[in-house]
Symmetry: C2
Subunit: 329 residues, 2 copies
């Protein structure tokens, strides 16, 4: 019998949700999701502030992606109260935070919730340390917190440096998963919210560099104003490798199809598509570029009461998974 | 193989929780819990007010009592936030209400949550109609809502009449369960909050009267000021039978051991023990009186943040279950 291939997805939020949802359908894969713990906006931010818990939001999305529970239970974890004293709160976030408050142990909570959601695979917080992001801008200003960084637009488009307010030690299980992986997938996801914070955790970059796995970077579909303005695919790779090591990725997957014009227009205040990588033809680069149509043809529902504005231009989970799996052969 | 005996417990809240927790250990019983839907206080009241949902609190306690999930999951459903914007809310109540809001169907929610909690047996709301209690006092005053009735003390100790603000139709499953039962257990529980409201639902009293089952009433340990002042066991039975039919109970179980003096003193502003039934020796009565030590020797924990003051003098689940099961032979 063939050994199950071990795939580790590093990221957080909607990006990892999409990758994992697609990969879950390949039953011969052993999936591990390593999740950014930097979020402090929306429902997650309120719970962190009021209860001192670790951020539940990204973890929740990855758990739901790998869940094999019935659709009612899975939907419930994404349910958001649109009114009343619970307005803006996501039920899954409340679930994770209540468990953490009760048990005093995020890991115990995670095991318990994984059982409830019948999670196939593992969801691992990149760290158990309760940290917040700090961004130092070129103008000398500092921004505290992931949501402040995500919210900033024109005034902060040049982030000079990003770090945690205190040391974050890696989750040992995450380090082991990286070490044992056959394939490591980084991205897609919000650059400073979901991707970079993973590599600010001590030991993660080193583990990825040392790992014998094939390493793929999946480029975002859209740029975010104030964060990745006018990035090309190669800009994205460079920015990401700056957090790990230049030349670390073997493959870079990027989308070749423009999103529908109507959606682009609707979200033109959020950002523009990542520029096509034609400029890369002459680049000196170590990775193999793979351009595929990766875009989702369906428009996700807007969730009433969600305090965070989310992009509706998304990767298609199946197209993404197919492209990733083809690299395992 | 012997057929599993069908036991139906009618009540709600802590009383039913105790009975069901004890009976659950008898694997040869087929358990159904029929639950009062009149609660509108505390976390339940806020959720009803803000989200228009059915009362989750009593249902939740009965689900947890019959749950065979791991202790972390069971404890979580009893977890209460003691601070922050979720202060006073019980997690299990939020779970049930979020599911109801999301699916728009309390029954679907109940099935889903029963799976999560691995419930052995069935928990059935006595009605799916969203109703509130009204109490008419002897002084002509009216009290609206179960919590207003539960909270009233000296000024309302004579409740003349109690009814719902609109018609409540019985849950057909509850009617069938009563019809098929081998044993029907009514009580213990707060008289006007958990017990009487079940029999204000159209069809429930008639079903209990017609049922071929053996019918037991379990008398409360304590009287509640303003509701059951200085009740003897026989007063309790009479009051309960007034809601169903005089002579409906075959057996009445009551406690013979006084609660510890220290606890009695501590809760002397809540009520006094139900008087011993010596007065009953000469009563003309149809039921068999069974007096046993039914009291719990352990003092339950006070839950921080709980907006409702709960009695700490409770039945022992195992003593109660043993006494009930002995009546099945």
């Amino acid at each position: 019998m063939q050994k199950r291939k071990k795939v580790v997805v590093i990221g957080g939020g909607t990006g990892s949700f999409t990758v994992l949802s697609g990969l879950k359908k390949y039953k011969n894969l052993d999936l591990t999701s390593i999740v950014s713990m930097a979020d402090d906006g929306g429902s997650t931010g309120v719970l962190r502030d009021e209860y001192g818990v670790l951020p539940p939001g990204d973890i929740r999305q990855c758990l739901v992606a790998l869940s094999e529970a019935d659709y009612v239970t899975r939907d419930l974890f994404g349910f958001r109260f649109s009114s009343g004293s619970l307005r803006g709160h996501n039920f899954g976030n409340i679930f994770i935070s209540a468990l953490e408050k009760m048990t005093g142990d995020f890991n115990v909570s995670l095991r318990s919730i994984s059982k409830v959601l019948k999670v196939r695979g593992r969801v691992l917080p990149v760290t158990f340390d309760n940290v917040h992001l700090v961004a130092e801008l070129k103008n000398g200003k500092k921004l505290l917190g992931q949501s402040a960084i995500a919210d900033c637009r024109s005034f902060c488009y040049e982030i000079k440096k990003i770090y945690f307010n205190k040391i974050a030690k890696a989750n040992p299980e995450a380090l082991l998963a990286i070490q044992d992986a056959d394939l490591i997938v980084v991205g897609p996801g919000s650059f400073y919210s979901s991707l970079a914070p993973n590599f600010l955790v001590r030991g993660i970059s080193e583990a990825v560099i040392k790992a014998r796995a094939k390493k793929i970077f999946i480029c975002n579909l859209m740029n975010q104003f104030g964060q990745t303005d006018n990035f090309t695919v190669s800009d994205f790779v460079t920015a990401m490798e700056n957090f790990i090591l230049s030349g670390v990725f073997h493959h870079v997957l990027y989308n070749t199809k423009l999103p529908p014009r109507s959606l682009l227009k609707k979200y033109s205040d959020e950002g523009y598509p990542v520029l096509s990588p034609f400029d890369l033809a002459t680049d000196k680069r170590y990775y193999r570029l793979i351009g595929v149509n990766l875009i989702s043809d369906s428009v996700p529902k807007i969730v009433k009461g969600d305090p965070i504005k989310r992009t509706l231009i998304r990767h298609d989970p199946d197209k993404l998974a197919k492209a990733i799996v083809s690299l395992l052969k």
